[in-house]
Symmetry: C3
Subunit: 281 residues, 3 copies
């Protein structure tokens, strides 16, 4: 990693103690900012199991890092994140019942630990949403502290159409954030919403015109990162304390349920239809 | 019920196993949709004790019905529902203390079981609000999953002016949905709000121009009803699970309190004044 | 207190049983309205320890007063309230560790009892926000029932920049009112918001043009005060009951934490810088 790399606008940076390189992920420190960037633009930043584990590890390392005061999650390319990489499921679709069960239980543990890392994060967590966000990339937003999105972004959690159930602790956080009817609109009947609606619903804080997104995001995170770091950590911990136990419990329940759903007929039929549709294009 | 009736736009339909006819109520199945329609337009769909029991029973039958995937509550006429039929109280107003107490306790049980049926409902519950909604017709909206309203609708819960207390679990659901200050605006100082304000407050999901209301409502419920039914039921159950025990407890408390209020001087004076005002018009 | 004073628009009034005069505070009864007015306009209504205790006592007296049905908190001058009077801290800044600890523990008890009085208040609590509100004047709004603000008001809780932590039970009420991301926007990264944003966030109910503020506020509180008083008190008590124990516990936690923060290096540095900045102007 060179000094030159640090001067480009791309979020590459010096390697960080305790973190291995993961395909599709860039982790960097920029001043007081610990930054995790989804970097698999050709696949719309769909999350592989390695990327889940890499983000989890990066959140844990940032938690311990005293040289930075906030954590930022951003992405490269036209999408923020298209959610869970369904190719995992594709492999499973042709497998035996036992193979599907094994796949489901492996993925469940990865998902569980991924979401736990958000629940246990102690720094302000800032999201920079540069384009459409889908599934798990939307549901975990309920555990962020400040989210800025381009007006080209959208938010979609198509659980029911895919025969799946909500994760990311969203079945608990979304009703608290936006009320039960809006939460059902997203998580139950699964409507896709625009950036402006997401702002109205309190799921994000700010919508910025696409051509100003990078400059305004950078300005905001630099400003937040200058606040007294101990206060940030202590105040975040206070705010989280009233919900932490329940969030951990909800994550357990959601992961148990989704592992069941991954083995259900409705889910297999829905994913087969989805992949078929994709392959016809 | 005739075949002819089924071909009109009115939501009549074939009789349903386990359900008796109730004056002022029409229950039907339309494809994957289980539909309950308030049908007492000359009385602005005010709820008689029989209508409470009929809706409760219909919600229970829909819960058991595997042939439909969602439950819809709609209404005929210019009003959605003017709330509790005050003629019950009118009779009581002239009675002895014991007669009033008996009336209050009978009504309390009916109200309690009515609200419990909403709490225990397992299908997505969709509300189509065709006009003004008052009292209990507003408070139970906190247990719906998606509500579409015409721009001619309004929402009013005049508990304090009538010497009464909130029901429908609203003292718990409204603060969660819209925050405590907006909840107090509705439930404590009892301001009437427009459809657009109800949307801003997250009490409803969508406001539609009156002349497009029927077509857009129909399109929405047909679309929702096509989602995988097992996923809908499982995901609704997950979302409800974090609040169900508390909702049941709140309903108990609210019913105990309102039965006391119905026997209070403030309530009798307020209702007498209300009926007097009505009879002078 | 003279008859003349009572005829001016200023909220002075007859002295009230059980209340002593407090500099910077006017307490009055106007019809069915119990009114507490911040009256230290030259200091932007910054709260001295005596004012905290005076407001607490007034809330308690109003609680017991059967001749009024609602409690109103208003203010004189261009500001609603600039928050905690930092001169207390200024004195402490030069003191020994023991003196700072003593100051922190004294202030903690005053703050604790002040916030408890809001939690235990049984009448509808109405806020009339005539200008900027800062710190504790903002955080306690989560325990009001209806708030009207002029369009010249703003809302700011600069805890982190001052090395402090949230109080007024806001770490619990704000996420419930506006969702966790907006709560973090205010309480964690500490953005100042306008009256219109505060209304969007459900922290206040109504924004009124500044030149209409006095007339419209007066009209609203007179209207609310005419509602049946027993119903108001019973319904407020019901709404509060689901949160009261948690609010008391949160207040305890917040007060313990802020007393620690007042003794922290980050806090002392931030306040010194703030006072330095002020003295250079």
């Amino acid at each position: 990693v060179s000094e030159e790399a640090a001067s480009t606008p791309e979020p590459t940076g010096p390697s960080i103690d305790g973190l291995e390189n993961v395909d599709g992920l860039t982790v960097s420190k920029e001043g007081k900012i610990f930054k995790i960037t989804l970097n698999r633009p050709k696949k719309f930043n769909a999350l592989t199991l390695d990327m889940y584990k890499g983000i989890q590890k990066a959140l844990e390392v940032s938690n311990q890092d005293k040289s930075t005061s906030i954590t930022v999650i951003a992405a490269n390319g036209p999408y923020f994140c298209s959610g869970n990489d369904l190719t995992n499921f594709k492999a499973a679709a042709g497998g035996t019942k036992e193979q599907v069960a094994e796949m489901a239980n492996t993925a469940k543990v990865v998902l569980h630990d991924y979401v736990d890392a958000y629940i246990k994060h102690e720094k302000p967590l800032i999201g920079l949403i540069n384009g459409p966000a889908v599934g798990i990339a939307v549901t975990v937003l309920g555990m962020f502290d400040y989210v800025i999105a381009t007006d080209k972004s959208s938010f979609h959690t198509p659980f029911a159409p895919l025969g799946q159930s909500p994760e990311g602790a969203s079945s608990y956080t979304f009703p608290l954030i936006m009320g039960s009817l809006r939460a059902s609109e997203l998580l139950l009947v699964c409507k896709k919403i625009s950036a402006n609606t997401a702002k109205d619903y309190g799921l994000i804080n700010e919508v910025v015109p696409d051509n100003e997104f990078e400059a305004q995001s950078q300005k905001a995170i630099e400003s937040f990162s200058q606040l007294p770091p101990e206060s940030l950590r202590i105040n975040k911990t206070l705010l989280r304390s009233f919900h932490k136990d329940q969030l951990l419990k909800v994550n357990d329940m959601e992961c148990d349920l989704i592992a069941e759903r991954w083995q259900s007929k409705e889910c297999h039929q829905a994913i087969a239809a989805f992949i078929m549709k994709g392959s016809k294009k």
